[in-house]
């Protein structure tokens, strides 16, 4: 027999493309443009008909088939999307309404737009509690990601990133500015950020800094959908650092009573703006093609991408070709689900010499770029003349020479992928067995070349270097999941138990350094041809989620990790968590409150660990063999040294306890929804590189477990569909994060004066500007208190004598002043759709973050202009304000409030719709501007620098892009 009918939506409009099938058979079809369908050839008898359409609640109807054609219409209702949306969690997924932890998912429709090259930038400003700071404006450069402020001082503060079940290496790959940039952002479907311990503890020892789960796009059933998008963009420098012009410098020197004739004599006749010379307007293009569909019920998606990006710094370039393949078939009547993902990328970079950025600030603008000389025609400060000229070793090098006379190329190939088998037992469908085998391999290779005559490597007669690194990480995971509705108890139980094996192995090959002509620079022959750093982690984990009456959810997890980085005595760590969730909305007294669509309360507690940042063998009493340029002579023979290495035989995991309480809410059928979380994180056995009693080990510093840090904070999210009509939609999203970190303990012995000096700055030798001190935020600035005259001008070298001992000394007069960590992060996104037009923007703000203006402290002094080393250099215009003669590196004058409001992105889109009546091709166009503006009182170039020390940042460009999307 046959059935036919029409499928309509809640507005009685036909739903084209809805899937209709007869359960338990291979019979099925899709509705046509008018929402009609017909299935014939059905055996007589009772059958179940299912209709499915994305975004609508699935419907089933039982009918009896006979030889008479049957008419069967369906009226679908939209699902309450946000609550039933499936959210991935560690080793599984749950409906959003059943989430027990602080988890935020961002899907592709909410990503940042424009010329996004590295995946993490997709969610910048979108998630409360997550701070994403791009490291620089260089092509493919990475970002610093901090979830809830990070937990550690010296160990890593980077979150664990898991792509389709494969934990990926975010450590450096030789030749790649940023390992994440090797993943094509266009392949990503969702980001899920796990924040509290209830969500993260299942990842045990790698979870203290939060976990980011990335899922990539998969194929769907139906006929192939081809999607092509192309983007052309241009990046320009927003602004320059204000340095003296050639004329200002000339005036400064000639009118200066301290400038001897010698200095006036150094001045040249040219007017060079070095920043104009080294920066360019860069053009980029990004093209992506994907095809997804199903072949014989095997869904697939293939995608290729080609990115060509240039930097605003001359000669900077990145080409990335990426491909991905996903196949997700099901076998044995859907009992076996197979998920295969393979991603690969080939990227080629040409790195510009970033030394030019700082050099452009201080190089004398009265000198020309080019000159007839032996240094390849680039003007240089040199001693001697003609063929005997030697570059002045203390002077900066010609910025253009630095760029044009250095070749630095790399090629990095990376692939990661996995195969995941999920088998639902035939005899016990509540039980699943899941096997996940994955890999992450990369090969980075590259070389640099500086010609013999270039001033930058004059002392070694040019240079040639090369490197090669191979990364080979393997993972294997197996778990069993038992999920059963216990109707008699009105409850559900969901239990998972598994094992994981993770092996990380890198091979670094060593090469000698060569002169430009290929001769080995003596002493640089490597002692060993290669090194294979390796570590291994093995884990057992379990989780139980018990839900009673759909109202009360109790969840607990435990993981035990063993790491090769620790001695057998402390090798295994245990990381438990527990949480309780109350779905208040399901209580009878709230069920009838129509305006409230969701209310859920969560509390959780758990312990996570952290081991990244510990070297592979720091618990072993090993000896290193010195390099060939570090030998010692006895008689006429040179000996490589055997060197005992400092070790801590008891080094172990850092442990973070997290307490979290949160509310998820929704109003007006979830048109307004969001969450509020408060958390308290306490890290103990903190890994810190601390001064230890001198003489007690083979170094005076040791990375060891010492001290505690506490983080507390509040996160608030709200998203609202302010207007939701057929033609006009307006969505607003806002998030707020407050975070505060305190060091509560640091040392073997409690001493209030104990400091760990950190934050090396440029200028002088070996100075630091920050400190870790008990009772203060990590990385607090550690500075002298500047004294000002009545006009507000800082008095050079005059500081407050804070300990009243009559002398100004680092021992008692430095004080802790502010820190680079913001007190508050705000994110705001909005999207307007009107008919075929769409408009979107993302704004971010940081408050209470401070910056050390190292550009000003290093270059903004007379000593830099009238340089004692025999040349004139340039200064920042700040010198007119401070009028400092000598560098005052440690003055709090240079610590500035760097709070800012930045518009990350503004975009306009137009959907042309179908190109013609007959064609299924759909075209969208969009125009985008990134890094639109920054509002800040900070006097330097950019107020957003992760470590709070501003020195020759690669400027973040302003990028305009034009894109088109074609789907058919």
């Amino acid at each position: 027999g046959s059935i036919s009918g029409k499928i309509i939506d809640e507005a009685n409009q036909p739903l084209p493309g809805a899937a209709v099938f007869i359960d338990g058979t291979s019979l099925g079809t899709q509705t046509d443009v008018n929402g009609n369908y017909k299935i014939s050839g059905i055996k007589s008898g009772n059958v179940s008909v299912t209709v499915r359409f994305v975004g609508y609640v699935e419907q089933k109807k039982q009918v009896t088939i006979s030889t008479t054609p049957l008419v069967l219409n369906f009226s679908l209702v939209p699902e309450n999307k946000s609550l039933n949306e499936v959210v991935v969690i560690g080793y599984g997924s749950v409906a959003k309404k059943d989430l027990t932890g602080a988890v935020t998912a961002v899907s592709s429709k909410d990503f940042q737009r424009g010329n996004i090259v590295s995946p993490e930038q997709l969610i910048a400003g979108k998630v409360s509690g997550v701070q994403i700071t791009s490291n620089s404006g260089a092509p493919g450069s990475g970002s610093t990601i901090r979830i809830r402020g990070g937990a550690s001082l010296n160990a890593s503060n980077d979150p664990l990133i898991v792509i389709d079940g494969v934990p990926v290496s975010v450590g450096a790959i030789s030749g790649a500015a940023n390992p994440l940039s090797l993943i094509n952002p266009n392949d990503i479907e969702t980001f899920t950020v796990l924040k509290d311990a209830s969500a993260t503890a299942i990842y045990g020892s790698r979870a203290s800094n939060g976990v980011i789960l990335i899922t990539t796009k998969k194929g769907s059933s139906g006929k192939p959908v081809v999607s092509f998008n192309s983007q052309l963009s241009a990046s320009t420098l927003g602004s320059q650092i204000d340095v003296l012009s050639a004329q200002e410098l000339r005036d400064y020197v000639t009118n200066n009573p301290r400038a001897t004739a010698q200095y006036i004599g150094y001045l040249g006749e040219s007017n060079t703006n070095w920043q104009n010379e080294i920066y360019q307007t860069a053009t980029n293009s990004d093209n992506n093609l994907s095809i997804s569909g199903a072949v014989k019920n095997i869904p697939y998606r293939v995608a290729v991408g080609y990115l060509d990006q240039r930097g605003v710094l001359l000669r900077d370039k990145l080409n990335r070709t990426s491909g991905s393949l996903s196949v997700t078939p099901k076998f044995f009547d859907n009992h076996l689900k197979v998920d295969v993902n393979v991603k690969g990328s080939l990227s080629k970079s040409r790195f510009a010499n970033q030394g030019a950025i700082g050099a452009a600030l201080q190089f004398d603008p009265t000198q020309p770029v080019y000159e007839e000389n032996i240094f390849g025609g680039f003007f240089e400060y040199a001693n001697g003349s003609g063929a005997n000229a030697v570059p002045n070793p203390n002077a900066p090098r010609n910025p253009m020479g630095l760029i044009m006379q250095r070749e630095d190329n790399s090629e990095v190939n990376r692939s990661l992928g996995n195969i995941q088998l999920d088998y639902m037992f035939h005899f016990l469908p509540e039980l699943h067995a899941n096997l996940n085998l994955g890999y992450d391999v990369a090969k980075g290779t590259g070389s640099t070349f500086v010609p013999e005559f270039a001033a930058q490597s004059f002392s070694t007669r040019g240079s040639r270097t090369q490197y090669l690194q191979e990364i080979n990480n393997k993972i294997g995971e197996f778990y069993l999941n038992y999920n059963k509705n216990l109707r008699s108890l009105n409850s559900n139980i969901n239990v998972t138990a598994g094992y994981g094996y993770y092996d990380n192995r890198t091979t670094n090959f060593n090469y000698p350094n060569l002169r430009a002509n290929g001769d080995v620079i003596p002493g640089t022959e490597p002692t060993f041809p290669f090194d294979i750093p390796r570590n291994n982690l093995q884990s057992y984990y379990g989780r139980m989620i018990y839900t009673l009456s759909d109202k009360y959810i109790v969840s607990a997890s435990i993981r035990t990790d063993g790491s090769s980085r620790f001695s057998e005595d402390v090798r295994w760590g245990v990381f438990p968590s527990a949480s309780f969730t109350w779905r208040a909305k399901s209580e009878s007294f709230l069920q009838n409150v129509q305006s409230l669509s969701d209310l859920k309360l969560r509390v959780s507690y758990g312990i996570t660990g952290q081991q990244d940042g510990i070297s592979n063998f720091s618990y072993l009493p090993n000896y290193a063999v010195s390099q060939n340029d570090s030998q010692y002579q006895f008689g006429n023979q040179f000996f490589n040294l055997f060197v005992p290495i400092a070790y801590d035989s008891n080094i172990k995991w850092e442990e973070t306890e997290t307490y979290n309480a949160g509310i998820d809410y929704g109003f007006l059928n979830n048109r307004i929804n969001g969450s509020i979380d408060v958390y308290f994180k306490k890290t103990k056995d903190l890994l810190a590189n601390v001064p230890i009693p001198v003489g007690s080990n083979f170094n005076n510093f040791l990375l060891t477990n010492i001290g505690n840090v506490e983080n507390r904070g509040l996160e608030f999210n709200i998203s609202a569909d302010a207007i939701k009509t057929k033609d006009f939609n307006w969505n607003l999203g806002f998030n707020l994060t407050l975070n505060r970190s305190r060091i509560t303990n640091l040392t073997l012995v409690p001493d209030p004066n104990f400091n760990i000096l950190v934050g090396g700055f440029s200028g002088g030798t070996g100075g630091t500007i920050q400190t870790h001190s008990v009772g203060f935020e990590p990385f607090s600035f550690y500075v002298y208190k500047q004294v000002y005259d009545t006009n507000g001008k800082p008095l050079e070298g005059v500081y407050e004598d804070l300990n009243n001992d009559g002398v100004i000394s680092e021992a008692g007069d430095l004080y802790r002043y502010k820190s680079p960590a913001p007190d508050a992060l705000l994110g705001f996104s909005t999207q307007l759709n009107y008919k075929k037009w769409s408009f979107s923007t993302v704004l971010r703000a940081n408050f209470g973050n401070y910056m050390y203006n190292n550009v000003a402290s290093n270059f903004g002094v007379e000593r830099n202009i009238l340089n004692p080393s025999g040349y004139v250099a340039n200064a920042t215009s700040e010198i007119f304000r401070s009028q400092f003669i000598n560098n005052q590196y440690l003055s709090d004058y240079y610590i500035e409030n760097a709070s800012f409001l930045r518009m990350d992105n503004i975009g306009l889109g137009y959907n042309l719709g179908r190109l013609s009546k007959a064609s299924s091709a759909n075209l969208r166009l969009n125009l985008n501007c990134q890094n639109v503006f920054v509002i800040s009182n900070y006097s330097g170039l950019d107020p957003e620098i992760g470590n709070g020390i501003d020195f020759s940042l690669y400027p973040r460009p302003r990028t305009f892009s034009l894109g088109l999307n074609l789907d058919f």
Partner: protein, 509 residues
């Protein structure tokens, strides 16, 4: 699979694999010595120490700064952290350079202790070594103890009361005990006498390794300064004469040409040097040592190529006028030891390298005037004379003058005139017939300037803190002023006072 958690490094050695055969022991011994020559194990950018810039963390650079910048000899133009306080004698316990020196000295001691722990009879017995090997290792042990004693002497001289660790302490995070200056004197004296017999006879060991004469030379130096370390009334001038005489009689002779002591080939045909710190412009690189001494003492305008460092010339250290004024004729034409680059004598502006005469004593040219190999035209191959015969002559003369027995003034004058004759290029025109203590101090300055002796000498002559003897910028004022009396020893670095509650800060800080 849990077997995979037991990983071992690819290239690093364990203590078992490091100490296999004589060569393994020798390579660890090379680290014991290398600890005062190099900053680390992986080239000039690496450091054994934390909390200090790698290039600044070598022994000689730090020791030199502490002994010379704080005296009437040298002043530095740089602004590097900690340097201005040494220039002006206003250092505090937080001074990063003093912390570096303290840590470097204790580091070498720690490595020496490790060698001693791994070369006990117990450990040796299981390692399949021949009798000859065992005899050689016994000598290595004595040398490791010598280097440890030398660094304890440095710590005693500069910091007075350092932490005290020996091979009997474990490696970990424990709190070493502090030793008082007088007790440390006894320890060093006992150690040196205990190892004397196990050391090679003078001038029989390999170049660069200590022998009996080094032991005697250190004892002589220590005895000469005994009153400083042990307090007034504890003079040991007779012992100073005894041990300086042993060195003098051990077969050393003066290097015929003074300047060749400080040239790149001073490792060959050098009859005068008893123990040197060895550097090589290709195989033993660091930005301290003689590379620092040579490059920091000249600037790019002085044509660095004529000092064997064509790409060098850092323009930092030059003489306070008190130093060239020790010479009647500072041109170098009469007294050849006056090696200054002609320029402005007086230091008016500390940050102007050209204020004050540049010292050209150290050079990376060989005695033949050829630049020694250097991997980048900056690194030097010149070795630094830690002990040389001339010092023994001066110790002898001073100890005799101060009332020690076992020597005569006549003999002393003979020794002093050997230095004068060499200085005057073989002429006796500069010879003396009598001398007083002031002469000794001035002559020590003429003979040993830029060799990191000066602070110790000024303290012994009680001229260091006194306002009766001033030098430019002493105490931070241009005309000079007296220093607080406690400044004859440096503070224990505050970082270690905090890390190690067993330490009590030196008086005054």
């Amino acid at each position: 699979c849990t077997k995979d958690l037991d990983l071992r490094p690819t290239n690093d050695l364990t203590s078992e694999s490091a100490f296999t055969g004589l060569n393994g022991y020798k390579q660890v011994l090379a680290k014991v010595y290398g600890s005062y020559a190099l900053t680390g194990n992986s080239g000039p950018g690496s450091s054994d120490l934390g909390g200090i810039d790698a290039g600044t963390s070598d022994f000689l650079r730090l020791y030199w700064n502490a002994q010379e910048l704080t005296s009437d000899e040298a002043i530095c133009a740089w602004n590097d952290p900690g340097l201005p306080e040494l220039n002006f004698q206003t250092w505090t316990p937080g001074n990063v350079l003093l912390r570096g020196l303290y840590t470097r000295s204790l580091f070498q001691i720690t490595v020496a202790n490790e060698f001693l722990r791994e070369s006990t009879d117990d450990k040796l017995s299981g390692r399949g070594l021949s009798q000859a090997d065992l005899a050689e290792i016994k000598r290595f042990r004595a040398e490791a103890r010598f280097l440890r004693a030398f660094q304890y002497w440095v710590l005693m001289d500069l910091f007075g009361n350092p932490p005290f660790i020996t091979e009997n302490d474990a490696v970990g995070k424990f709190l070493p005990n502090q030793i008082k200056r007088a007790a440390l004197f006894t320890y060093i004296e006992t150690e040196l006498k205990a190892i004397e017999a196990d050391m090679a006879a003078p001038r029989t060991n390999e170049y660069g390794r200590a022998d009996q004469a080094a032991v005697w030379a250190l004892l002589a130096r220590m005895y000469l300064n005994a009153e400083v370390y042990l307090g007034a009334g504890n003079a040991k001038y007779t012992d100073a004469i005894t041990y300086s005489s042993r060195v003098i009689n051990a077969g050393y002779t003066l290097m015929p040409t003074f300047r060749n002591l400080f040239r790149a080939d001073n490792n060959v045909n050098n009859p005068e040097v008893i123990l040197s710190i060895n550097y090589d412009g290709i195989k033993s690189l660091n930005n301290g040592g003689t590379t620092f001494l040579i490059n920091s003492s000249i600037n790019a305008a002085m044509s660095p190529a004529t000092f064997g460092v064509p790409n060098g010339g850092w323009g930092g250290n030059r003489a306070k006028q008190t130093l060239p004024l020790l010479f009647d004729d500072r041109s170098g034409n009469t007294d050849r030891r006056a090696m200054f680059f002609d320029g402005k004598l007086n230091v008016d502006d500390v940050s102007a390298f050209t204020d004050g005469l540049a010292s050209t004593k150290f050079s990376n040219l060989t005695s033949a005037g050829v630049a020694a190999p250097s991997s980048n035209g900056t690194f030097a191959s010149t070795d630094f004379p830690l002990f040389r015969l001339a010092e023994m002559f001066l110790i002898y003369a001073e100890a005799v003058k101060r009332g020690g027995s076992g020597g005569t003034e006549a003999q002393a004058i003979t020794y002093l005139n050997r230095l004068r004759t060499r200085a005057y290029n073989g002429s006796t025109a500069g010879n003396i017939t009598s001398y007083n203590l002031d002469y000794i101090l001035a002559e020590k300055g003429r003979e040993f300037y830029w060799e990191a002796h000066r602070r110790t000498d000024l303290i012994r002559f009680q001229k260091y803190t006194s306002d009766a003897y001033l030098w430019p910028f002493k105490g931070g004022v241009k005309a000079g002023k007296g220093l607080e009396s406690f400044r004859t020893i440096f503070p224990i670095p505050s970082a270690d006072v905090i890390a190690n509650p067993n330490l009590i800060q030196n008086t005054g800080y």
